[in-house]
């Protein structure tokens, strides 16, 4: 299986690769085309790397034709191995057959009309997870219509990442060692700051806000 999930290219490399990656070809017979889905995990539900690679409004990850990081990643897949084709062979739910090692949790943001899913197994630290969440929701602008105020970044002063653990308790992300968090986390919610007072009073987690 390809191993390019979650890999990030530095901006200059991305810019350099983009030119070839964006060439529109019709894919003559004999060439398999890699689509924007990235083909990272065939037959499985979209992994986090695919959602983050949609580069929500994060301009540095898209070139002018709007091709996404995942396409570039897929091209960059280990040289020598074939670029995997999305959805081929047509096996359903392959990841569910036998493998239990993905840990998908839903991420909800207060005020957002949709949820995202992340695979906690894709990260090794809180930093990585929270950086990805930032990217996922970075262009989400929330309007507090009562106050006519705009809140720019999800992970700034206004939102606190919390999670529900196996016991059903809502905890602040960052309180427990990473591995314990991965095992016990059932879902994540980015709560509005005003609602977090009833959680156990702790200092905010030590991750830093991207400037």
């Amino acid at each position: 299986m390809s191993s390019e999930n979650g890999k990030r290219l530095p901006e200059t490399d991305a810019a350099g690769l983009n030119f070839e990656a964006t060439e529109l070809t019709l894919g003559l017979p004999g060439k398999s085309r890699v689509t924007s889905d990235g083909g990272a995990k065939l037959g499985s539900k979209r992994g986090f790397s695919e959602t983050v690679d949609l580069s929500l409004g994060d301009k540095k990850d898209t070139n002018k034709l709007g091709q996404t990081q995942s396409q570039i990643d897929a091209r960059e897949a280990a040289p020598g191995s074939k670029a995997q084709v999305v959805g081929w062979p047509p096996v359903r739910g392959y990841a569910k057959r036998g493998k239990k090692s993905c840990k998908y949790v839903k991420v909800a943001v207060d005020g957002a009309p949709y949820l995202r899913k992340v695979d906690l197994e894709m990260y090794n630290t809180y930093q990585q997870l929270l950086a990805s969440l930032e990217d996922m929701f970075s262009c989400f602008t929330i309007r507090n219509f009562l106050n006519e105020k705009k809140m720019d970044q999800v992970n700034g002063i206004e939102y606190v990442p919390t999670y529900e653990d196996k016991d059903g308790d809502w905890m602040l992300v960052g309180d427990v060692p990473w591995q314990m968090f991965v095992e016990s986390c059932k879902r994540i919610r980015l709560m509005k700051n005003t609602e977090t007072v009833e959680l156990a009073p702790r200092t905010p987690p030590k991750w830093s806000r991207r400037s």
């Binding site: 529109l24 539900k45 999305v86 081929w88």
Partner: protein, 698 residues
Amino acid sequence: MQKKVACSFPDEVLEHVFSFIQSDKDRNAVSMVCKSWYEIERWCRRKIFIGNCYAVSPRMVIRRFPKVRSIELKGKPHFADFNLVPDGWGGYVLPWIAEMAGAYPWLEEIRLKRMVVTDECLELIAKSFKNFKVLVLFSCEGFSTDGLAAIAASCMNLRELDLRDSDVDDLGGHWLSHFPETYTSLVSLNSSCLGSDEVSLSALERLVGRCTNLRTLRLNRAVPLDKIANILGRAPQLVDFGTGTYGADLQSDVFSSLAGAFSSCKELRSLSGFWDVVPAYLPAIYPVCSRLTSLNLSYVTIQSPDLVKLLRHCPSLQRLLVLDYIEDSGLEALSSSCKDLQELRVFPSDPFGEEPNVSLTEQGLVSVCLACPKLQSVLYFCRRMSNVALVTIAQNCPNLTRFRLCIIEPRTADFLTLEPLDVGFGAIVEHCKDLRRLSLSGLLTDRVFEYIGRYAKKLEMLSVAFAGESDLGLHHVLSGCESLRKLEIRDCPFGDKALLANASKLETMRSLWMSSCAVSFGACKLLGQKMPRLNVEVIDESGPPDSRPDSCPVDKLYIYRSVAGPRFDMPPFVWTMDEDSALQVHALHVAEYNRKPDWIGVGTYEESIQGLRAKMPFVLYLAELSNTSQCSSQPLLSGDTTLTPPRPLLRLPIETLESDDKTQRSKEGKYMIKMRYSMNPTICFEIRPISTRSFPGV
């Protein structure tokens, strides 16, 4: 109702006669005989099947059929199973449930396939339908076990709860304990797709024990092997059983109670599950094997000799699902043990490996086809094939109705002759005159499509990948296959010509999917403009297709016939090609949502643009809501030039609005339409067209 002819029957008699006519096709035919039959028939139709939820609107269905008790709906295209349809594409069932909640209080059955179902939907079902009996969610997603708990708690007459292959947010097994102690009507429960490690075993055992009519029980992986005996002991009348995990350290007392439990299940005909199999435990099922007609071993990762040992005990087998560990030798053994075999599915154990890991070739399939005269349905994954093998299969199995062959490496030629496999598949369609479903693979030229167009007259569904050479291939299919309903194509060099030349054919089909082909954006627009009863949807995640020349190929194309017009719940990466660009819905950013039924807050135009670039699921906002204090956004202008390229925003001319209870005239003469569509989590939104005063040109 007027009787035009003196000798016609009274309506009640006709209705009684019609009640014996169950099939949809026959019912449709009956309704076309004359106006009075149409009227009588529509009042007594109880069961509706809608193969594409966007082909018709809930409102239209309810208007025509006011007394429906059972509904079946399908949402996403089939290729969604293989990740070709991006998340958020659509297929939301909430609008249907919301409408039916009011119109069909006596609805008993809901069957859904590939639709997005939320907990809110499930709660609404639980609350709205007092006699609800059957819920089948086949490959659905978007809901959690909380929604199931609501169903369990409220539906006193529930008979069937089948979640097969659905993607459920499994929050643990506690939902089972929401079935009240007085509830005993369960006949069928399939929760095999639930993924949590937790399950409430005591609730499960009690439920099984008190539901004496239980016939089907498919457990999920979390149920351990040593609990099976207990469960089966409480339900010896089971006909269809799916185990949970079927592996554990071998203990003789566990084994013997398991074997004893199985042997007391005299009615058992179908087995499945078998995750994590330990071969030593398989003999426990031998007591029931001789009666088994269906066996699903698609999670059983044991080697061929052990598989063969098991299969030799199953002479009555009609349906087998198995991994390719069975190998050619195992299939040979199968063909001599199981003469009644009707359906065979062989799945790949290592689909993405480059080298074969098992000795399974075309020979295995050929030996089954030669020896099993009743074989009708085949799904076979392998790594090599030959024309000679396919011809042999075709000649020996003329009764095949479903033939799906997947040669794992695209464009693989006949391994003996290195020729394309055109002749082989040609033989299949020529000899198997009742073939309804066909999936092609391997190296194929336009010739195979010529054969298909010429011979496959009963073919209803065709799946094509990495095949063909030119538009002629597609033309053969569209012009020749008279019964074609669903056509799905990926990675083939089919372009505009065949599509446009056969545009009217598309109205006789349910749907056409083409991805990674060579259909241009210009052709899509033309098709959309010329064919008002087709919805032509372009899916392209890399940006708006009109930012590129019209000659550029589109990434994915989904065309389906519809009497409901273009849909409004599309995500930003789906564009609809419509005759009237003013009806193109370009969803905009939802700044905030709330659950108030009247409207939701929306953002300014600038936020909307940002949202469009962000590609998030949106809702369209049209008008200045100047009469509410909750929003002070600026009016949207059409054709804004700051948006590259300039795109028209939705303008709904007044005359296209439905004038029913869903619209109300406000004192300023503006119309509001409430559309209770939902994405996850649920939102209600409004589209408000504005008066011509503030929107010149509408």
